[in-house]
């Protein structure tokens, strides 16, 4: 049997040692009433080459980012991943290890995680970060619960310019605990800081920066507003590389940051696995969910690393734990550490600057296109919203035929925004691609207007 080394002869010997006649006897404790009396009805078994061929066929039927020039972000970003990242993170010693319960033989994983925690803190300007959460959205959900625990309050104010899927997850995590989520409408793509949004029952204010529309929020303003009433400021972020160039949330007054780490060296992977980042202030660390790696010494006084502050966690605290998370996204965190090591401070700045400049190069041209325009005036980083003359979804289909993944139609998330398209430009897009993309948009829009005109 594939992957089972035991030969019939060896099976015989083992049964003999155990003192039973057949493997069947080893299942004597399974009541007949619950046995599966028939073979499983599964698809036919395939040999190794057949499996690869079959999956290769399925893979071929997807328009991936090497096929279509990717101008969509919205929480998943087509940044360049240096080949060294996964040639290192993918090494068997990292890939096939379990959680580092036996620290003495897992210093590789533990030290890399400690380095990762440090790099994340540096990038976000925060004091402490954990070893990873599932993804940015669930990290935000946990952050809200954490704020509830820290403040003893049960109301969370969240901007509608936070990623819609993050907000859905936020509701899922908070609702069973009776936490009330109040949404703040955006005005012109941003969420102006407003003291009336909060009161002494407010546990936290949640804004995304740069926000879902790509716009820069007034994080400092919201920090003041929140802190004045004793609430916490939770900043969500879907691309931490922005902080290679932008002032990081920590410097803007964030108490908790919940971010998506996919952009840090992790592939698009059709949505997962990604990397949940959560970072906060030292004083809040004992309320933090998830694993933490800490430095200590061995019996000879040499530096070493261990999982620590575990009294927060489910395997010790059970129902009193800060979260139920156990398995996290360690390998993606390792990849992020390798990625950030390769880039360093200049590298993250250069990536951020390339994104910013290229996005604005596109933005400027879109602004010129007749019938098309830029929806919001607020400053943006590498994403912005395009006003389209026809339903954005149709436009996306049209330009896909010309080799572009145009962006995310916002109608699906925001009522009345059928003609709004969220586009993104990362460092991997070339000027030539951007120019051709603009032409494609122009053509598709004209056709669109014609069609509309036709209908009148």
């Amino acid at each position: 049997m594939r992957y089972i080394p035991t030969t019939p002869e060896e099976r015989r010997r083992m049964l003999e040692v155990i003192g039973v006649r057949s493997v069947e006897d080893l299942f004597a404790d399974v009541p007949q009433s619950v046995r599966l009396g028939r073979p499983l009805r599964l698809r036919p078994v395939l040999s190794d080459p057949e499996v690869l061929r079959y999956l290769g066929g399925l893979a071929e039927r997807n328009a991936h980012a090497d096929r279509l020039a990717c101008f969509v972000g919205a929480g998943a970003y087509d940044h360049f991943v240096p080949p060294a990242v996964w040639q290192l993170a993918g090494r068997g010693e990292f890939l096939t290890a379990y959680t580092p319960y036996q620290a003495e033989v897992m210093q590789g994983e533990l030290q890399a995680t400690y380095e990762y925690q440090t790099m994340v803190c540096e990038l976000l300007g925060m004091e402490v970060a954990n070893a990873s959460m599932y993804d940015g959205a669930s990290a935000l959900g946990e952050a809200a619960v954490m704020a509830r625990d820290l403040t003893g309050r049960d109301r969370v104010v969240v901007s509608q310019a936070v990623h819609p899927e993050y907000r859905q997850v936020l509701r899922t995590y908070t609702e069973p605990l009776g936490i009330q989520v109040v949404e703040r409408r955006h005005e012109g793509g941003i969420t102006p800081a407003d003291p009336r949004a909060v009161d002494t029952r407010t546990a936290a204010v949640v804004v995304q920066h740069p926000n879902f529309f790509g716009c820069l929020e007034d994080v400092r303003g919201w920090a003041e507003v929140a802190h004045r009433v004793g609430a916490l400021l939770v900043v969500a972020c879907s691309d931490p590389l922005a902080f290679g160039l932008l002032e990081p949330p920590g410097a803007l007054g964030a108490d908790i940051v919940a971010a998506e780490g996919q952009p840090l060296g992790n592939p698009l992977n059709f949505g997962g696995p990604y990397l949940g980042i959560i970072a906060t202030r030292n004083k809040f660390v004992r309320r933090m969910p998830g694993r933490l790696v800490g430095a200590t010494v061995d019996r000879y006084g040499r530096r070493g690393f261990v999982l620590t502050l575990q009294t927060r966690e489910q395997h010790i605290r059970r129902e009193k734990a800060t979260s139920n998370i156990c398995t996290n996204e360690a390998l993606n965190a390792l990849a992020a550490a390798v990625y950030l090591s390769l880039l360093g401070p200049q590298g993250v700045r250069q990536v951020a600057e390339l994104c910013l400049r290229k996005a604005h190069y596109l933005k400027a041209q879109v602004a010129q296109l007749e019938g098309v325009g830029v929806l919001f005036a607020a400053p943006t980083f590498h994403e912005f919203v395009v006003r389209t003359p026809r339903p954005a979804a149709a436009l996306v289909r049209a330009v896909a035929r010309e080799g572009f993944l145009a962006g995310l139609p916002l109608g699906r998330f925001y009522r009345g925004m059928q003609n709004a398209l969220l586009v993104c430009v990362t460092e991997t897009r070339t000027r030539d691609e951007i120019d051709r993309f603009v032409e494609a948009l122009a053509r598709a829009s004209r056709r669109g207007r014609a069609a509309v005109g036709g209908r009148r």
Binding site: P39, L95, G108, Y166, R303, L331, P379
Partner: protein
């Protein structure tokens, strides 16, 4: 001996490890693009190192790890089986790894078909009617499972308040129940290691939302009365939740759905061999009976004629528990595994996982206490109690000493109901020679406990670092490197 340097300690100002393009667009002044006050004041203190130094640093760190690719990993409850290399190749195909989750549906039919077919296979394996592939791990699956249960009762206008959890349960079970707002009631186990039926009866009532059962339970024992348990739970209208972490013991032999479970999660990173990555990522698929299907998270992959699409329009859904659709790259690997093994292969997996565990149990029993010494499933729980009483050596010491023998340690001090627990799970992919070598090491350590206990108490001795001071780590948390002034 000096400390192994941190990557930060290798940093030299001005050094670069990347080869990024120069801007190919007009270079406008930054201030025209973003307001000055929004710009970063001081750069992050990330390491400045060359690519070669990064390669060396993480290659050397990898040599300070322990993995299945290097040796035996009998970590109970974790099912550390071989992770086929073929899966890595499949998972890295650009058609999967380079695919953006917001690519229009008609352009991701291959990915959706894979998800749908995987769902079909898992439904058949579980004996359930519907699945959600979204949860990122087992605990995430538990969260989805209990949210679904809660929504189910809500849809019937019921607000049940408590969830029953065996005293042998994994910590994620009670933690999850609490996250979903339930009161947790602990149910003891009986002397045979089954759930105590009398105690169950006491706690079961119409306030009970669910019983979270692990089967085989964390003692590695099959719940012999699972059918009667299900009867009673259902009698009060409560739901049967299966923690499927131990699914490896029963694939193809008995199905949770047929055992009376209404909802379960499976850890694809255990039973279905996706690599554990040093702590994650995993994938915790949830499977449910028909009556719970309306409440699954959105989106759900559906098939219409020969098209596949993501169904978001599910009014009764519990909502989202994460962005996008799940840990897709792991789902690809799990599907590759299912297709490689097929029905016979999967049954053989369970048979050999159980065969290997019982072989180890019988061979170790003369040297270590085995509190519940009967036919086990894929794992069993031994105890260092004898050595502790006799030699003053703890299970932790024994675990550390095993590292010197080149093995990973079993899971220790879990389940909580066994003192000095040593939870051993060999899996089906290990050879008899490896199992025997492990037995020899355990026997040798038992001898050492008698003849040279100090050697065991001070273990490990051959690892990159000696025994680490965990108390100090917790007392004086040092959770990040700090740049010098």
């Amino acid at each position: 001996m000096t400390d192994f340097p941190l990557i930060f300690e290798r940093s030299v100002s001005g050094r670069r490890g990347y080869g990024l393009p120069e801007p190919d667009v007009p270079a406008r002044p930054l201030e025209e693009l973003v307001p000055h006050h929004a710009l970063r004041q001081r750069p992050p203190a990330l390491p400045e190192v060359s690519e070669l130094e990064v390669v060396r640093h993480y290659t050397r760190l990898s040599h300070r790890n322990y993995s299945i690719d290097e040796g035996f990993y009998p970590l109970g409850s974790c099912t550390m089986k071989y992770n086929p290399k073929l899966h890595e190749e499949a998972g890295r195909l650009p058609g999967f790894s380079r695919l953006h989750p917001y690519t229009p549906e008609e352009l991701v039919q291959g990915a959706l078909q894979l998800l749908w077919e995987l769902g079909e296979e898992l439904r058949e394996l579980a004996g359930m009617d519907a699945v959600s592939l979204q949860p990122a791990a087992g605990a995430h699956g538990e969260l989805v499972g209990l949210l679904v249960v809660r929504a189910y009762f809500a849809s019937r206008g019921e607000r049940r308040s408590k969830v029953l959890v065996p005293d042998s349960a994994h910590g994620t079970n009670p933690a999850t129940a609490a996250m979903v707002g339930y009161e947790v009631v602990t149910v003891p186990s009986d002397p045979r290691g089954n759930l105590d039926l009398r105690a169950l009866k006491q706690h079961l009532d119409h306030h009970t939302a669910a019983l979270m059962l692990t089967n085989p339970n964390t003692l590695g024992l099959f719940e012999e009365h699972v059918d009667r348990i299900a009867e009673r739970v259902h009698a009060v209208g409560a739901q049967m939740y299966l923690d499927g972490a131990n699914f490896n013991a029963m694939v193809g032999i008995t199905r949770p759905g047929d055992q009376g479970f209404d909802v379960m999660h499976m850890n694809l990173h255990k039973t279905f061999s996706t690599p554990h990555g040093g702590g994650g990522p995993g994938a915790g698929v949830v499977a449910v009976k028909a009556h719970l299907e309306p409440f699954l998270p959105v989106p759900v992959v559906v098939r219409e004629a020969d098209r596949y699409r993501l169904d978001f329009d599910r009014p009764q859904s519990v909502g989202r528990v994460r962005a996008f659709y799940g840990n897709f790259a792991n789902l690809v690997r799990a599907y590759a595994y299912l297709r490689t093994l097929g029905a016979d292969g999967l049954r053989a997996v369970a048979e050999h996982a159980v065969l290997h565990a019982n072989y180890l149990r019988v061979r170790l029993a003369p040297y270590y206490d085995v509190p519940y010494d009967r036919i086990c499933k894929h794992e069993f729980v031994a105890s260092g109690a004898r050595q502790k009483k006799r030699d003053g050596v703890t299970t932790r010491d024994i675990a550390k000493r095993l590292l010197d023998y080149g093995f990973h340690a079993p899971t220790v001090y879990f389940p909580l109901i066994v003192e000095e627990a040593l939870m051993v799970e060999p899996t089906e992919t290990e050879s008899l020679q490896t199992l025997d070598a492990f037995v020899e090491a355990m026997i040798a350590i038992d001898r050492e406990c008698r003849e040279d206990p100090e050697r065991v108490r001070t273990a490990p001795h051959t690892t990159p670092v000696g025994r680490l001071d965990e108390v100090r780590a917790a007392r004086h948390p040092d959770l990040r490197w700090k740049p010098g002034p």
